[in-house]
């Protein structure tokens, strides 16, 4: 019995670990889509965040600079996208896909180069830097039975992601800029007529969204890959985050829940004994997408306007168009 409980507990803990980068990517994309832009570059921005976070961490040994450079790298990717779509009114899908291809290429190139230049052919972040990502000690909370180890022994980036989710929820629901942002995403012409600076809102939120994706990338290179650069480090997690946006029906709090579910699905394979179910690994990696399809079916049956994609998504706003 204890064996089963240990196994379950380990599974849940691993699920939380795996959910964090997904949560960053999802929150970033939710913020972007709330501004009326679909950015298919989540994967690319996570790559940019991962590689620049890694390089800066490797070079400077500073946690603050690592996180900051990851955030800025993601935001810089988003800036390219925002300039193309908001200012030049280029097609959003094409721009986002290009960003993904660009980010993947840049990251793999720079990462491999750093690895080759390293003394032993493997570039590792220092143990000191990685120790910042070890579980935080939250005093009495961390020593609670059962839930203590499960919920209150995580790294700073896990709590940061949770706080970002809650903060985004409050921002969208309660604040005036949040209301304006929703209007920009739903009907930019209406927002414009009310004096909301549409382009500025889009830029700011696309950039912050990109920064969050970048933090997701940092998490992957620092925690998931233990501070070691690996080729194709993001491996499609950006796309899972895109699916999660739909799963969460554009709600930050549901994104927290959703990323847990998807995180659990992605590590499930490792915790189900082969003796119990023996199916190919590919079927397991398919699960998040199957679940997304099911959610799409269910949510389209419910057909509530509030739970759908912002109406202005995918269409660039041009004031003088008729």
């Amino acid at each position: 019995m204890t064996g089963f409980w240990d196994q379950t507990s380990a599974f849940l803990y691993a699920a939380i670990l795996a959910s964090v980068p997904l949560l960053y990517g999802t929150l970033g994309e939710i913020l972007t889509q709330k501004a009326g832009n679909i950015n298919l570059g989540v994967e690319g921005m996570m790559y940019l965040g991962a590689v620049f976070g890694f390089l800066v961490g490797y070079g400077t040994d500073s946690l603050v600079l690592t996180l900051l450079s990851g955030f800025l790298a993601g935001a810089a990717g988003a800036l390219i996208y925002a300039f193309l779509t908001v200012t030049l009114k280029a097609n959003q899908n094409v721009s986002g896909l290009t960003l993904t291809i660009f980010g993947t290429g840049v990251a793999n190139f720079l990462g491999e180069k750093a690895k080759m230049n390293a003394p032993l052919g493997t570039a590792f972040m220092s143990d000191r830097l990685r120790s910042f990502m070890s579980p935080m000690d939250l005093g009495a909370f961390s020593r609670l039975p059962v839930i203590g180890p499960l919920l209150f022994q995580h790294s700073i980036m896990t709590y940061l992601a949770l706080m970002a989710g809650v903060a985004m929820h409050l921002y969208l629901k309660r604040s005036r800029p949040g209301l304006n942002l929703r209007a920009v995403g739903e009907n930019p012409a209406a927002a414009d007529a009310m004096g909301v600076p549409v382009a500025a809102y889009k830029y700011v939120h696309i950039l912050i969204g990109g920064g969050l994706c970048g933090l997701g990338g940092v998490y992957i290179s620092m925690v998931t890959c233990l501070g070691n650069w690996q080729p194709n480090i993001i491996a499609g997690q950006g796309w899972i985050a895109m699916a999660l946006v739909i799963f969460a029906s554009w709600k930050p709090l549901r994104a927290i829940l959703g990323s847990l579910v998807f995180g659990a699905l992605s590590v499930l394979r490792l915790y189900i004994p082969k003796s119990l179910i023996d199916i190919p690994a590919a079927l397991f990696s398919m699960l998040p997408f199957v679940v997304t399809c099911l959610v799409l079916v269910v949510s389209s049956i419910r057909m509530r306007r509030e739970h759908q994609q912002p109406a202005g998504c995918g269409v660039n706003y041009f004031r003088e168009e008729r």
Binding site: E186, A190, A193, M194, G195, R322
Partner: protein, 501 residues
């Protein structure tokens, strides 16, 4: 001559490509005054108001507000300067509530709390209702509240009455009257001359982008305004064409349809339509007109009941098969870019959409369609920059002519047309009525879903009144009155009291 006018335009000009939409327009509005802006489609009214609200930048000329030169570079500037714009196409965020829509934008801009504005101007709006659950007139009230709460003292309303029922129009005019009483300057754009006469103090007429004169409303009448607007005298009388009544073409029996949620859209609708007859359909917006048209055209399936065309049952057939039976539909929805037209395509290509199936082979032959298009453009006097121009570049009225013209070019035997003159000016409307009368003389049976009761009464042979999806009366228009129709529309008269049906 103490105070300068609230809004004064001097030589305002705006060009699009080679078209001059507004050509050196001078205009002024005083406080406590309602100015009606009158003009045909494409005469530059909307462009003018868009310059006032900061959406377009003028190419030349200046705008003076309360005697001071104003530069309106964005809608934000316009709001700051006290200009409140009520757009023809509502600018509302559908998933937000009325209150949220009003509070949008910068914090400091709200001068009057929404609740207070609702009370002051006597409007019927539930501030916590989501916009997508609202009726058209409620949405318009929210639009008006939006600008009032921002303390706008110069209001511009672009065709506010186009989508309202008669009762709602009276409510709107009541609100406008209160605004005039509060010393606000109001510009109202409308095509309906009766409304101009009823509400305005002065009228400015635009013709082809130029100011064709400003007159005091009390010194003028409908006929001289029309003449000024069109540039020539025009017959405003809508006439009923005389045509021999033909065979029964369309027979609808006990038609019932429900929406996906199970609420009835139409219930037990039965009527017949004969050749050489125009059957009008009157009703408050959303009484089932759309469902009725779509079922007959085969776009929707009825829950029960049947539709016969010349004795053959056609309900349940595909739209294409129904067109083969000679039933054609031209539906102008509220957004006006007609159903079945593609805004990004040219006129000939839009014509081809309905006829390409008749061509053999894989490649399209455009020649015939181009010839048809040229004929249609000259016959219906469609204003376009050329055959290859995208349809969305045409003004609303011209788009509607294309839609109706295409359906007629298929020589249908039954023509279903809904709101064909929605938003059209008087001249274009008369053209459309003439087109319908001509079809009637050819023996076509016409189902005419309309809004203007006066037009229904004088154009149609019979009028069917829909009330909440049911037929509340079918009357001979010669014996009917507006009052009767109005009561039938709102269900104020029970069937038993009815002597006219």
């Amino acid at each position: 001559m103490s105070k300068p006018p609230a809004i004064q335009l001097i030589g305002l000009t705006k060009r699009f490509d080679r078209v001059t939409a507004c050509d050196r327009i001078d205009l002024e509005v005083n406080r406590g005054e309602i100015l009606a802006l009158l003009g045909e489609n494409g005469s530059g009214k909307t462009t003018l108001t868009n310059m006032l609200s900061g959406i377009y930048q003028p190419d030349a000329g200046s705008i003076l507000l309360d005697g001071k030169k104003a530069y309106i570079r964005s809608p934000r500037d316009a709001i700051r300067l006290g200009i409140g714009m009520i757009h023809q196409h509502f600018k509302l965020v559908e998933v937000l509530s009325a209150r949220e829509n009003i509070l949008l934008g910068q914090a400091g801009l709200i001068r009057i709390p929404p609740v207070e504005a609702v009370r002051t101007f006597g409007m019927k709006v539930d501030l916590d209702k989501k916009v997508y659950q609202m009726s058209v007139s409620e949405k318009q009230s929210v639009e008006i509240l939006k600008v009032l709460c921002r303390g706008a003292d110069k209001l511009v309303l672009d065709e506010p009455t186009a989508v309202l029922t008669p009762q709602e129009i009276l409510n709107l005019f009541d609100t406008l009257g209160k605004m005039r009483g509060e010393g606000k300057a109001v510009i109202i754009i409308t095509h309906k001359l009766d409304e101009v006469m009823a509400i305005s103090d002065r009228v400015t007429v635009l013709r082809r982008g130029q100011n064709a004169g400003t007159v005091f409303t009390e010194d003028t009448d409908r006929y001289s305004l029309t003449e000024r607007m069109v540039g020539r005298p025009i017959d405003l009388e809508v006439r009923r064409a005389e045509a021999p009544l033909g065979q029964t073409l369309l027979k609808v029996e006990q038609l019932t349809a429900r929406d996906p949620g199970g609420r009835p859209l139409i219930q037990d609708v039965s009527f017949t339509l004969r050749g050489g007859e125009i059957l009008g359909v009157a009703g408050v917006a959303g009484s089932g007109q759309k469902a009725l048209c779509e079922i007959i055209a085969g776009l929707e399936k009825p829950t029960s009941g049947s539709v016969f065309m010349e004795g053959q049952r056609i309900d349940g057939l595909s739209p294409r098969e129904i067109i083969r039976h000679g039933v054609s539909m031209a539906f102008i929805p509220e957004d006006r870019l007609g159903m079945g037209l593609v805004g990004g395509m040219s006129i000939p290509d839009n014509l081809l959409l309905k006829t390409y199936r008749d061509q053999k082979g894989f490649l399209l032959r455009r020649k015939g369609a181009r010839e048809d298009a040229v004929r249609m453009i000259s016959q219906l006097n469609i204003q376009t920059s050329g055959l290859n121009a995208r349809l969305s570049r045409l003004s609303g009225g011209n788009v509607q002519k294309v839609l109706l013209g295409r359906e007629i070019s298929l020589s249908p035997r039954v023509l279903i047309t809904a709101y064909p003159v929605r938003g059209l000016d008087i001249g274009a409307s008369m053209t459309i009525y003439d087109m319908l009368n001509e079809q009637k003389r050819k023996g076509v049976g016409i189902l005419f879903v309309g809004e203007d009761l006066d037009v229904l009464l004088s154009l149609c042979d019979r009028i069917m009144v829909l009330c909440a999806g049911r037929v509340s009366a079918i009357v001979e228009s010669r014996f009917a009155t507006k009052a009767l129709l109005g009561m039938k529309m709102t269900g104020l008269v029970t069937d038993k009291e009815d002597e006219y049906a």
